[in-house]
Symmetry: C2
Amino acid sequence: MKILIDAFGGDNSPQEIIAGTIDALEQKAGFTAVLIGKQDVIESQLKNYKYDQSRVEILNADDVITCEEEPTVAIRRKPNSSICVGFKELKENPDAKAFVSAGSTGAVLVGATLKLGRIKGVNRPALCPIMPTLIDGKNVLLLDAGANADCKSINLCQFALMGSAFAKTLGVENPKVALLSNGTEDEKGNALNHEVFPMLKEMKEINFVGNCEGREILSGEYDVIVTDGFSGNVAIKSLEGAIKAMFKILKESIYATTKGKIGGLFLKDTFKGIREKMDYNKKGGALFLGVEKTVVKAHGSSKRDAFMNSVLQAVTYAELGLSEKVKENILKFTETQAE
Amino acid sequence: MKILIDAFGGDNSPQEIIAGTIDALEQKAGFTAVLIGKQDVIESQLKNYKYDQSRVEILNADDVITCEEEPTVAIRRKPNSSICVGFKELKENPDAKAFVSAGSTGAVLVGATLKLGRIKGVNRPALCPIMPTLIDGKNVLLLDAGANADCKSINLCQFALMGSAFAKTLGVENPKVALLSNGTEDEKGNALNHEVFPMLKEMKEINFVGNCEGREILSGEYDVIVTDGFSGNVAIKSLEGAIKAMFKILKESIYATTKGKIGGLFLKDTFKGIREKMDYNKKGGALFLGVEKTVVKAHGSSKRDAFMNSVLQAVTYAELGLSEKVKENILKFTETQAE
């Protein structure tokens, strides 16, 4: 099984990307890493590491798409970019099972949709991060986290199906699916929510449990939370911002007094643990669900560890047959709809 | 100046509401508190306190609107509820300058709109909490936080004007107004954002600085953040949820080890300070901007301290002439539009 790596995506590429890939190879057997990008640069970087050479390949791509470029334009104009070469390979090579990139989110999404292709029956693929919750070991999937700023009700129904398939793939039985809203009562919501609520309620393929507020996202009460890509993005970034703010205030307050500094020393490991628990970006990337194969979007600021985790995620999802399971769920639903 | 108090609104009414009101009277001179609700209950509660009797009045209201009731129906069917009696008095009595309630948000919003009335030129009043930021002493206003789940571009322009007037009333010179979006670049956003962005840019009455992401809400970079009531509600509740989650994890992690417990003892005051800083619900209520007089919506779970702060807020805003300043800003804008 081949995992394709965009060696030239992200703020710390190619160094941290290549280092993280090498680490992933050490962590897990059973896959070959295909590093995509400028061959000479990759080759000279690889000289810094000891690794099993039979498990690393290079696929040359001379161009790079930056975050400043308009994604649709960039994907069309740069067929030799690491992202375009990656998706072409992913589509054409049956051994290639997943693509991992820390590059421009927009370009990865557009590239996946245009070059790799959507699963039949999916109108809009969605970005789906895996977030930690207050319940130990339990995660929550939120989609769409930002691929589609404007959504229709049918998109949200498909997000529910895809998220549910993803949660099941991760081992959750009968995942609880909620609709993000401005209140928990059934009648809460905006026009889109009012339209989609009864549709979700009717869907036999999912376990829809009703509305969920922003303050319950991390509660561990839900397995999958669906929403449009605008609200999803606002929610996730608000959560991130609040957690970041809390750490900043905590640090400043601790350093402000001697008593604080002493307490801080005792709690150093505790704080480190909490940071690791809450910083889901370090745990791996977000999945792009609804396209033909596994696509993992690692955080743009990923360093070695975070990128390693994203690669390991990609391997795991490919092994578990994530995209096949999403496909099955969508197919079952479209068949019911056609009846 | 009279400040009207819904004595029968909120989870802890009437006890904590009355206690908080008495505390507010002690904290600040220059106003009379009018407690609205069942006269006999209020009278018997008041017996528990020592206070300046010349500064407390009771306005009888036999009914109570609960959070379970549909707001529009409840406001129409219960003219003798504390909320309806309060808004009638606020409209008719020139001495009455503000209304404070910890009751049903929906009922307060509908009551304010129907019984008190909108400012001319405001299509949709908005709920506007004042939130702490990472910069000490600096707050951010976010509106609409949930009064209008579906908004048009003109609503957001009016929110910008009202928020700007509010920030100026609080002493901010040339407040920075941002549009909540799914990215900071100008071209980011959903259909509503794409429509409103150039309109905000054109408005000479405000200092529009562009898009702002969820993760920047608490940064202190912005004074006013405008958005539709659905996204605003999602953002605020996500922030609340993340902060609550952080405290929970912090507490659990500290109690998990002996080292943690020792560190926790040293940091007890620090944690208390952070909690007070970040828990904006305890600092006071959210303003309902765009109606004829000052309306403060205290958090439903307000206890004595939080409610006292909401009453003090109402007094301050009434003294500063908040609703008059909002009116002026709206008027100036509608005149420009008419030219």
